[in-house]
């Protein structure tokens, strides 16, 4: 179960909320390979969370760090929740196509998606924003689409059943879908920026980073080590992935691991913010500079 609420973690340990996809690999690897210990963190407790209760749990100090995405962070921050991105996560890699738009067999072109029903994992999430930008850049007005929320594992079936016309799929379901003969119209992620746009972060509350800058730095450094290790030990990394996502090793190998980065770019966040304003009905104000953890002074 979740560890109890408001104990402070000045004892040198950290509690991290993961998610259940490839995104959390670096943290798992860092833990397994002892990188956290190496960077002065005594003990790491990890929990896999299902949903967006992460922000409340950071506020009430149940967790110190957690996996999140740009839109959540920006929205929370504009509502006055003091959050910072301690570390980035996904980095640039040309072969990595971690989001795909699968469509019904009779749809072969983006233009055909006009006015269709599209399944998205979270209507306010980064993937949906990217998809809208992608549609828009292909001349399809996203405002005319009907977006519905579909849990990722159900996307393929719903597409088969014809209940949706297109879905926004992430790994490992991309490989599952390809196996099942689904066809994709491409990756919407680069529609927002010609460069790869990191959208996932390890975030913490500002209170925690100010109280524990050493731990925050250590966390980031450990992830840096993990990123390098993953590059060098691809096979072992897949084993680790299979371990915590509980998919079979065989299944895990079908999705590319991509690159990991600890960089947090203020510019990237701003691109997200602008896209959210344009496509996500977002109208808050955000001080981007305050969102980035800059390390212990």
């Amino acid at each position: 179960g979740g560890s109890s609420g408001s104990t402070s973690s000045s004892d040198g340990s950290i509690r991290v909320a993961l998610n259940n996809t490839n995104d959390s690999l670096a943290v798992v690897v860092a833990q397994q390979q002892g990188f956290f210990t190496k960077h002065g963190i005594k003990d790491v407790k990890t929990t896999t969370l299902n949903d967006i209760t992460l922000v409340p749990s950071l506020l009430n100090k149940q967790y110190d760090l957690g996996f999140s995405v740009a839109p959540i962070m920006l929205r929370a921050s504009s509502s006055g929740v003091p959050l910072v991105a301690v570390s980035g996560n996904n980095g640039d890699s040309p072969e990595d196509q971690s989001v795909q738009i699968f469509v019904r067999p009779d749809i072969t072109d983006v233009k055909q998606l006009k006015g269709k029903r599209i399944g998205s994992p979270t209507l306010t999430g980064n993937i949906n924003i990217s998809t809208k930008a992608w549609l828009s850049s292909n001349g399809v007005d996203p405002a005319a689409e009907q977006f519905v929320q579909v849990p990722t594992p159900n996307m393929i079936d719903e597409l088969k059943a014809g209940q949706v016309d297109a879905v926004e799929v992430i790994n490992p379901f991309i490989s599952v879908g390809k196996q099942a003969g689904m066809h994709s119209l491409g990756d919407p992620e680069r529609a927002l920026s010609p460069n790869y746009l990191g959208g996932t972060y390890w975030i913490a509350s500002k209170d925690w980073t100010s109280a524990n800058p050493k731990l925050a730095d250590g966390f980031k450094a450990a992830l840096q080590d993990a990123a390098q290790w993953i590059k060098a030990n691809n096979d072992q990394a897949y084993t680790a992935l299979a371990g915590y996502t509980k998919v079979t090793a065989e299944q895990a190998k079908k999705s590319p691991l991509g690159e990991f980065t600890t960089e947090v770019s203020q510019d990237d966040l701003k691109i997200w913010g602008d896209a959210m304003k344009k496509f996500g009905g977002f109208n808050g104000t955000v001080d981007y500079s305050k969102l980035v953890y800059t390390g212990a002074k």
């Binding site: 929990t47 209760t53 594992p153």
Partner: protein, 255 residues
Amino acid sequence: MRRLLGFAVPVIAILLWQLVKSTGLLPYDNIPAPSDIWSSTVDLASSGELLANTGHTLAACLGGWALGCVLGLLLGLLLGLVRPAWTYGMASVEVLRALPAISFVPIVVILLAQTVEMEIVIAAWVAIWPVAISTIDGVRGVNPVHQDLARSLGLSPVAKVVKFALPTALPKIVVSLRLSLSAALVLAIVAEIVGDPDGIGYALVQEQQSLRPAAMFSYILLTGVLGIVLNFILVWALRFVPGARQAAMGADDAA
């Protein structure tokens, strides 16, 4: 033999399901065949996961249910028997009992973190209302001759409640105890799906994301079994509550 009749319907349903699945009439990966669900259930059971998750959910459900029932009963007695309490409180109750519990999950998480206590609060919240409403309705149904009798025997208010109001309301309360139990179980699971990283609800989402729909179905279907068992225990236990005997028997038979 007659008892077995009740199994006919589910057995036929399962066979049909297996049939459409193995003939490929149902091409969806997320609806596995009963045989797959069975083997994954066996796996989960032998690994001990099933028991651990069930135990967690059960604790949350029963804790929330018990809390909700006690509060519901007290609230129902207060509103059903004390006129001013009804006049100055009932409308508030009508508002409160319609508030969607799951929209409070993030708020309860702030207060109680992602813990079993959070689940208990959510489950209790939904368990309160059926019991409260049935109690109000029931205690008001005391027949006029009984009201006269209680007064002429000079019974104390407490004795009136214990000897007349509660037994009269009992059949309705028993039904609502059962309703609350199912509501508490469902909400405990929903709270696990949304918030608490533990228990059946959490496990079923994890299994789904790990591409094991059969295991997910194991958990979903297990919930129904859990319900039947809980209900059976409740009905059985009620036979030992004086006066609830008839009410419980009128209500049971399914188990």
